[in-house]
Amino acid sequence: MTPLQLSAYTLTTALGRGLAAHREALRAERSALAPCAFESVDLDTWVGEVPDVDAQTLPEALARYDCRNNRLTLMGLETDGFAERVREASARYGADRVGVFLGTSTAGILQTELAYRRRDPASGALPDHFHYRTTHNAFSLAEFTRDHFALEGMAMAISTACSSSAKVFAAAARQLALGTIDAAIVGGVDSLCLTTLYGFASLQLTSSQPCRPYDAARDGISIGEGAAFALLERNDAPVAGTVMLLGVGESSDAYHMSAPHPQGLGARLAMEAALRSAGLGVGDIDYINLHGTATPANDSAEGQAVSALFGDTVPGNSTKGYMGHTLGAAGAIEAIICAMALTDGRLPGSPGTGALDPSIPIRYQRHGADAPLRHALSNSFGFGGSNCSLVLGVTA
C-alpha cells in the first residue's frame, strides 16, 4: 500500500489522558489495573477504568449522544490537541473530504443496560430519555464524532470485536489511496459495560488477578476501556521522524466464534498480509505489539503464529498489563503505543508478566529497553475469527 502519515494521534486509557501520561507510565512500567468497582458489577476481576469519564459533559447541541462511551469519545478527541488538527484538516480539505472510521465492540450499550433497569413497571417500556440511535447503536461514536466536527463526508463504525479499531486503518487506507477522501479520523472507543464484564466472565476468560500476558500461569483477561485516535493523510515526502502506516493485513479464522484457531493460522495469514502490504520482510520488523490477551488459548495460538513467522528473533510483548484489554479500542490504542515506541526508540514493558510460558518460543520482552526502532507490527484478533495486523514505521 501507499504509506500514509499519522499526522496527529492521541490516546486515553486507565493510565491517563494523552501521550505524555502514557509515555511516563510506559517507562515506569506502571499498571493502572485495579479490582473491579465499576457500577453495580459484582465480579472477582480487575479492570482498567478511565478516571472521571462521567465528569465529562457533552456540548448542549449533542446532548442526545450522552452516554459513557461518547463521554470517553469526547475526552479522547479533546486530548493532545487532536480536535484542533481535525478542524484544520476539515478547513484545508473541506468538510466532505474528511472521513470518519471508528471501531467499537459495544459502543454505548451500557445506556441500554441501565435503561432496562428502569423499565415502566406496567408497560415494560424503556424510559423516554433513552436514545437508542445516538448511544447504544454501534455507529453512535462515529456519528457523534462526525457531528462534533460538522463533517459532511463518509463515516462508518467497524465492529469486529477486538480487531475493530485495527481494521479501521485498513478501511480508511483504501479510501485515501483511491482519493475519495483527503484525510481520515481513525480510532476506537470502548467503555466498560455489564455485557462485556459478565460475558467474558461467563466464558471463564476473566482473571481474578491483574492479567499476565504470556506468563506460564496466565489465566485470563483484565477488561479495560479507552479511546485512541489518529488523523491519517497522504504525504509523499514526510519529514524525518514522521510515523507512517505502511501496511495492513486482514484475515478470518473460519474456525470458532469464541476460540482462536489452535495453531494461530488466521493470525499468521494476517501478519503475512500486513508484511506484503508494507513491502517488508520478517527481518525488517523491530518490535511486535502482540494481541496478548493473557488467556491460555489466545497467547498460545498467537505465539505459535509469531514463532512460525519470526522465530525468536524479534522482541515483542503485550501491553495489556498496563491498561487491560480495551476490546474494540485495543487495536487503535496499540497502534498509538507502536507510534510512541517508534518515535521514542523505546520498547515498552509488560507489567504483570512474570515467568514466561516456556512452551511459547518467541522473544518476549518483559521489561522496557531503549532500542533503535524502524518498523513495528501490531496484532489484533477478535471473536468470530476476525484478524488484523498493522505495520507502522518511522521515517529516517
Binding site: A125, T160, L194, L203
Partner: protein, 269 residues
C-alpha cells in the same frame, strides 16, 4: 487529488425481505410483472453450518447466510475464496434483548453462547465457519446509512485488491421494549457479488460517486415502505434498475448531506 471512480461489476444478487423470499421473486415485483404480497420474511435453514452451530443460528445468521449464498450461487462463485463486507445497522436484536433483560435482574450469569453471539460480527464469524473462507471479512455499520457504508468499503476493496468482494447488507428487528426505540419491522437483506473484471456472470457495471441529490424513491408504496424501514433495502432503487435493465444514474440514501449516485451501465438484457 481527484477521486478514482469506485467501479465494479455486479456478478450476483441475493435478496430476502418481507414478502420477497428471493431475488427472482423480488425482480418480478420490481419489474411490475407480479404484485407485491406482504408476508413475514422467510429465512432459510443454514445447511452449510455444522449441526451445533446450525442449532444456535439466530435470525440474523440465517438471513445473512441466506442472501450471501444466493448471490454466490447466482454468480457461480466459490464462497470459500471470497473477501466479504457485512453491513448491518444493528446486531442480533433478540439476543441483545435477552442479555439486557438478564443483566437488569438479580442473576447476571449470562449464557456464554448468548455473549459470543452478541458481537456485531457474529454473522461474519458464522459465514467463515460455514464457507471455510479465511479471506478478510469487514463488518461495519452506519445506522440507516449502513448499505451505503458497506458499498463504499466493498467497492474500495475491489478497486484496491482486484479481487471479488461479497457485500452482505442485512438488518433484523428488536423485540419490545427496544422495538419502540428502533422499529425495524422484520428481517431484510441484500447481497451483491462485486468484481473488478467483467465475466459471463456480469449483470451490469456500477460506478459510485458522492452526490447531494435526493435519493430516488420507489413508486410502489409497499416497496417504498420496505426501502425506508429496513436500512439494507435502501438498495432497492438500484435493484429495480437491475431488474428492469435500465441503464443510467440512480441516487441512493447514505449519510446526510452525502448521498451516493450509482451509475449503471452495460446491463445484460
Amino acid at each position: 487529488m481527484s477521486a478514482a471512480p469506485l467501479q465494479a461489476w455486479i456478478n450476483g444478487i441475493g435478496l430476502i425481505a418481507p414478502g420477497l423470499p428471493d431475488w427472482a421473486t423480488a425482480a418480478a415485483v420490481l419489474r411490475g410483472e407480479a404484485a407485491y404480497v406482504s408476508a413475514p420474511s422467510v429465512l432459510p435453514v443454514p445447511l452449510l453450518l455444522p449441526p451445533a452451530e446450525r442449532r444456535r443460528a439466530s435470525r440474523v445468521i440465517r438471513l445473512s447466510l441466506g442472501v450471501g449464498l444466493e448471490a454466490v450461487t447466482h454468480a457461480g462463485a466459490d464462497a470459500s475464496t471470497l473477501a466479504t463486507v457485512f453491513a448491518a445497522s444493528g446486531a442480533d436484536g433478540h439476543n441483545c434483548h435477552s442479555l439486557c433483560e438478564q443483566l437488569a435482574g438479580d442473576d447476571r450469569q449470562i449464557s456464554p453462547t448468548r455473549f459470543h453471539n452478541s458481537v456485531h460480527n457474529a454473522a461474519a464469524g458464522y459465514w467463515g465457519i460455514a464457507t471455510h473462507s479465511m479471506a478478510p471479512c469487514q463488518v461495519l455499520g452506519a445506522f440507516d446509512a449502513s448499505f451505503g457504508a458497506g458499498l463504499l468499503d466493498a467497492l474500495a476493496q475491489v478497486a484496491m485488491d482486484g479481487q471479488p468482494v461479497l457485500l452482505v447488507a442485512y438488518d433484523s428487528e428488536y423485540p419490545e421494549p427496544l422495538h419502540a426505540k428502533r422499529d425495524t419491522p422484520d428481517c431484510g437483506g441484500v447481497a451483491l457479488l462485486l468484481s473488478a473484471q467483467r465475466s459471463a456472470a456480469s449483470l451490469a457495471s456500477i460506478t459510485v460517486a458522492p452526490s447531494r441529490a435526493p435519493a430516488e424513491v420507489l413508486g410502489d408504496a409497499a416497496m417504498e415502505g420496505l426501502r425506508q424501514n429496513i436500512p439494507a433495502l435502501r438498495a432497492l432503487p438500484l435493484l429495480q434498475r437491475l431488474a428492469r435493465g435500465t441503464a443510467g444514474p440512480v441516487v441512493l440514501d447514505y449519510l446526510a448531506p452525502m448521498q451516493l449516485q450509482v451509475d449503471l451501465q452495460d446491463l445484460r438484457q
